[in-house]
Amino acid sequence: MKDGPGFSDMSRRSSEPLLRLDDTQLSPLLIDGATARRGAAKPLLPQAQANQYPLDDSRVLALPTPQTPEEEEILVRSFLSGLEKLFSRENNWTFLQPLLLTMEHCARCQTCSDACHIFEASGGAEIYRPTYRSEILRRLYFEHVKGGGLLSRWQHGSVDLNWPMVARLAELAYRCNLCRRCAQACPIGVDNGLVAHEIRKLFSQEMGIAPKELHASGSMLQLKAGSSTGMPPAVVKDNVQFIDEEMAEKAGLPVETPWDVEGADILLVHNAGEILAWPENPGAFGIILNQAGVSWTMSSDLAGYDSVNYGLWYDDAQFARVAVRHAEAARKLKVKKIVIGECGHAHKSLLVIADRLLTGDLNIPRESFLTVLRDIVASGRLELDPSRNAFPVTLHDPCNMVRLMGIVEPQREILRAICPQFREMHPHGVDNYCCGGGSGFAIMSGNTFPDWRSQISGRKKLQQILDVFSDCLDPAQPKYVCAPCSNCKGQIRDLLAYHDVWKANRIQYGGLVELVVNAMADVKPGFIEWEWH
């Protein structure tokens, strides 16, 4: 390691963070070739002191604070117990094979490091290197699961296992967006993103440790109330009715969302966060589907109106529970297919990961809204006037839909049809960079984490956005970042605000359906509002 902490520092009994970042270390934000430090001057806030053994200047977990060596020992034993379960067939059949392959075949060549936007943005901070946490887990695996011994330590190395190490490793699992760009770059196929995922699982499933936004206020709330927003069915129906009325007035067209229609062709499931934060998005869906004459419905069943599945990021049991409830809602209504709205991780969850959990009549056909929308646009059922979208538009590729699902072209076909000034970021498609909000980061707001994700994990994406609009950064020219994913949209909103990009450069963000409605000839002009929200 060049400058950064070594593995032994993870075990250090110190209340000083292993890493303190300052502006001079971060990768520069470049505009027109000159270094711009807009917004980057904001220092990261001091570490909250509740955590005895901090990793860096931020914190997402409320870890236990053992008061005695005995209490520490109990926690370490609990961690070891979870570690063993992670490698057992009965406990982790879901990901055992890829995990074993990753543990046993990494050549530690560091090819993955250059692919990681977090490592790059931090200026190469060692603890953010994709292999750093993996190497720790790997050494623990060989030492404590495979039996260890002198030969093993000689071959695989070793790390000191104590509570500071365990506490920092837990936090370190939440410094990875799980975008798996590192895995894509690995010549052997080793997956360091999976390692972060599995460490998160160990802490959640064995020790009950997970960020409150993902667990207590996330999957648990969804299973209890029906949505991670906390909206029960009656409230969500009220809100959507309000949105319908607002959108009808705004668009000059009737908008009515059908609820619980048995036998509908499509069960549309939104990320319920859209209903609260970006009502124009579900509103635009309503306008498009109604105008295109599609047979569709929403469900008011438990979890049936909220496509999020935060278990994807930290807990297999929670993941499976929510996925099954999504499928049950569709089965009950006897719909022909489930269509997921603008939410990347919900796509990945229900279409891909849950596929091998939903057996029998729960394996209901599931499709992305992108293909449905592409077909509607291509069919001519909507009269579209691209000149209404005569402003520069770029597309952010949500990792879950693109690199992890292979849905690349439908959104581009739509944009090419309705946005005459569409331009691509570089790189894009399956080689895209994560927005920095992936794996739940976009909804995590505790302590200084919003600073961290605006300064570090989102930095590369912001640079891409600035680069793609480098010929028209003048605020007189409005510009639009199309982010067809709720979490990405939230992260891009925060990025643009944090770095004052909206004010300085008039770069707006939003979804894809809003652009479609904005181009509809029979909708009142100006569906997209050039106001910050």
Partner: protein, 310 residues
């Protein structure tokens, strides 16, 4: 001594095959995992592979016939296996070192195969076939052997030098890593030197291979070369016991993880496997999982810890 050398070579070959097979079987028998693919998946339709697309780009994809483009997979696999294409794209500095090393080993393996072929001809037919075939076989075996030895030796030295000098690798480098590369350097060097300095009239590669097949214990292999061959046998047996067996792991990381896009509905065997897994009894300790003491995965999934809080 010669008999011991033959025994070592045979034991090494058997260990290599058996340990590699055992590793492959262990991975193959691990449970069917949840899907975790990465795009592009090269067996997709060619027009989709070009941009990394999948069948999810099609409307009502579950109604479309399954597409498996073997030629597409081969177009990726062959350059990857032979030329380490992914490394060339992602880490050119390492590729300059790793490619000669690996390609050299392939050539050495090819040379060994050709030598055995020729030795079979000698043992069974009483001598190498004359004419162009025999000449080509000799020339190919010699050329691949020499070029392979030089390439792999230089590659191993370059990899070792990089591992010792590159700051980003140093802390991730164990004693075992250095030993592994040094082992290659020593073995390849010893074989090369042993072969080059062997006394006139001492057996060459083909004679030794023929001796091995006919178990000719009267053959006298010069000391330095014999030492190289002993060490080479030890290295051959050692490789599959370490992470250097990534030639096995890589098959699974690509075919069973990155490119495994088979939907449940397309393979009825999956349903049976999943039914078995759902009977497993997880022992995870967190309260939200232990809602159903000693329950199966099916019980865990069908339970709702949120209900307790309603």
């Amino acid at each position: 001594m010669t008999t011991l050398l033959y025994l070592s070579i045979c034991a090494a070959g058997i260990t290599f095959v058996a340990a590699s097979a055992a590793r492959a079987v262990r991975y193959a028998r691990s449970p069917l995992h949840l899907r975790w693919e990465l795009y592009p998946v090269p067996h997709e339709e060619p027009q989709r592979v070009a941009h990394g697309g999948s069948y999810f780009e099609g409307s009502e994809w579950w109604t479309a016939p399954r597409h498996f483009n073997l030629a597409g997979e081969l177009r990726v696999m062959i350059p990857e296996m032979l030329f380490l294409e992914a490394l060339r794209k992602s880490n050119r500095a390492l590729w300059y070192r790793s490619f000669p090393f690996h390609f050299g080993l392939y050539l050495l393996a090819g040379s060994a195969g050709l030598l055995l072929l020729a030795a079979f001809a000698v043992v069974l037919g009483g001598g190498l076939p004359g004419g162009p075939f025999g000449s080509v076989l000799r020339w190919l075996a010699a050329t691949t052997g020499i070029v392979g030895l030089v390439l792999s030796f230089c590659g191993a030295c370059a990899l070792l030098q990089r591992r010792l000098s590159e700051p980003s690798l140093r802390s991730y480098t164990t004693v075992g890593d250095i030993f592994n590369l040094a082992f290659f350097v020593a073995v390849l060097g010893l074989i090369g030197v042993g072969y080059a300095v062997r006394p006139d009239g001492s057996p060459g590669a083909l004679v030794i291979a023929t001796g091995l097949l006919s178990w000719d214990s009267t053959l006298h292999v010069p000391g330095a070369l014999a030492a190289g061959l002993f060490a080479g046998a030890a290295l051959t047996a050692y490789i599959p016991l370490t992470h250097m067996s990534h030639f096995v792991g890589k098959y699974f990381t690509y075919h069973a993880v990155r490119w495994d896009d088979t939907p449940l509905a397309a393979d009825p065997r999956m349903t049976a496997k999943l039914a078995e897994y759902l009977t497993y009894r997880p022992t995870w300790s967190a309260a939200h999982i232990r809602t159903n003491e000693s329950g199966t995965w099916a019980d865990v999934v069908s339970s709702n810890p949120g209900e307790a809080h309603r």
